[in-house]
Amino acid sequence: MTLVLGIETSCDETGVGLVEDGVLLGDALSSSMLEHVRFGGVVPEIAARAHVQAIVPAVHEALAKAGATLADVGAIAVTAGPGLATALHVGVAAAKAYATALSVPLYAVHHLAGHAAADTLVHGPLPAKSVVLIVSGGHTSLLLVGDLVADPIVHLSDTVDDAAGEAFDKVARVLGLPYPGGPAIDAAAASGNASAVAFPRPLTGRNDPPLGFSFSGLKTAVARHVETLARAGAPVPVADIAASFQEAVADTLIRKAIAACRLHEVGTLVIVGGVAANSRVRALAQERCAAGGLELRVPPPRLCTDNGAMIAAIGDLLVRAKAAPATLTVPVRPSVQLRWADLEHPPQEL
């Protein structure tokens, strides 16, 4: 058995995880989130500076939790893309140095495949086929997934504009709620009426792509609604608007995810990414999957957001599949599409 050290630095979280044979043994997370709050979004340079300071301590915190030392590490996995280039560089450089100094293999993996793999740490191996909804501040995608490391990953759809999490951030700003918008809107919505405002369900018309996502228009609809109230001197019911917006996002996401399962005759829906931590997204998914006879798999919130455990998880799957390691010159791939979990050595086309 091989202990895999996973490193994640694609955005503002420095994540390190240790996984062996499908079991998460220890992990650590250091976030620069608070440093980005006053800018209303992640500033890449600030994130990258924070990664430099956080990475070695995070490795040791994870090792301590796992009761292991660097000498026990048998392979390194790192997010090589997609993500903020300047942030990715830090993790990839660290991973290469650890792999070289420890003389262990390096795996350069896709961030989104890591998100999908996170669920296997809690719920065991994925079934032969599943639909994965990845929904975060940077991504909103539906994937058709077989064996995570042996089969190609089929991109069923991506958002054509904003990611769902980005819409949460922007709407939070319009409502005067803090950054990051996801938890702020979730909290505000708790006391609101989700049917107070009938916000649009984007791309759900008869002629729209059945699996397509778009959140820019929805965000603008909220902004227009708020501005109209404000200009009329009317009070802005923040809780109701937050709840109604959240409902529109959750409804759209789950509707499309279930449509993808039906279209591809898949019985399992996996939801991952930061927005999978949203309470309404989770509840609505549960309700509709139960009604539709679908198995729903959602990792606990701490494994939904970016973390190192998920990267170690995909590395562990690659090690167990006897995948070829990456070379030390593997580049970062800031905007790489997800077709294979392993960014440098895709398995042979079937």
Binding site: H89, Y98, L328
Partner: protein
């Protein structure tokens, strides 16, 4: 043919040196005798470069550093376990390359359980360009600016700074910064504006970088948390004022 085996005596420390603060990616393995003087200038002639890899390509840092480190250690006839310390150039330098170099150095040292020491990357030039009494060392800071420091007999006089070449030239003209010559890729880039005689050390060298760290190396100082010299705040603006109208008003 097998690599020559290096006999490691007790009077020797092999040091891995990494600098990616400029367009040059530089990695090397340097012998530092245990009885080396703790003074960088005095120590420099006592150091032996066992291996060095340098490529001038500002976009290649992340791809090359670890490969260069492994190749350098191999060429030195050593193994990773033979390394006694890591020395890293901590800038000043444009950000991504600088970070990649620093993180690589920190992770190597951590993985090998050895100390890492940070040195000012300009010292890797200034120590090597000591044939004039007062030398201005300038590297390319991008955005039409240079990082610079003044060296007197090889020793840095003050903290490094960042200026536009015209502003640095004004300081030179006013006698606020005094130098007989200049060197470094930034000086070469703005040679006309700066107007001093040009020496030929463009980038930090591994021997000079190791020499800059000898006070820590010979005293066995505790490992350091490397702090990059950015000399600039991140470019980011706090959003201000009301959001623009979404109603077309």
């Amino acid at each position: 043919m097998a690599a020559p085996t290096l006999k490691l005596g007790s009077l020797l420390m092999l040091v891995l040196v990494i600098d990616a603060s400029s367009a040059a990616v530089t990695v090397g393995v340097v012998d530092v005798p245990a009885d080396a003087p703790a003074d960088p200038m005095a120590a420099l002639p006592r150091l032996t470069v066992r291996a060095q890899r340098t490529v001038i390509d500002a976009r290649a840092h992340a791809e090359l550093l670890s490969t260069f480190a492994r190749e350098s250690v191999d060429e030195a006839g050593a193994t990773m376990r033979d390394l006694g310390a890591v020395v890293a150039g901590i800038g000043p330098g444009p950000y991504t390359g600088l970070r990649v170099g620093i993180v690589t150095a920190a992770a190597f040292a951590d993985a090998l359980g050895i100390a890492v020491y940070g040195v000012c990357s300009l010292d890797g030039i200034g120590l090597a360009a000591r044939d004039r009494p007062a030398v201005l060392v300038a590297s390319d800071a991008r955005r039409k600016e240079v990082y610079w420091a003044r060296y007197v007999d090889g020793r840095r006089d003050g903290d490094p700074q960042v200026h536009r070449p015209a502003d640095l030239a004004a300081l030179l003209g006013a006698g606020e910064v005094q130098a007989d010559a200049m060197t470094g890729a930034g000086a070469r880039m703005y040679a006309d504006a700066l107007g001093l005689p040009m020496l030929d050390v463009d980038y930090p060298g591994v021997a000079a970088l190791a020499a800059a760290a000898v006070p820590s190396l010979v005293s066995g100082a505790p490992t350091e948390i490397l702090a990059p010299m950015y000399l600039r705040q991140p470019d980011a603006e706090v959003p201000s004022g009301p959001a623009k109208s979404t109603l077309g008003l």
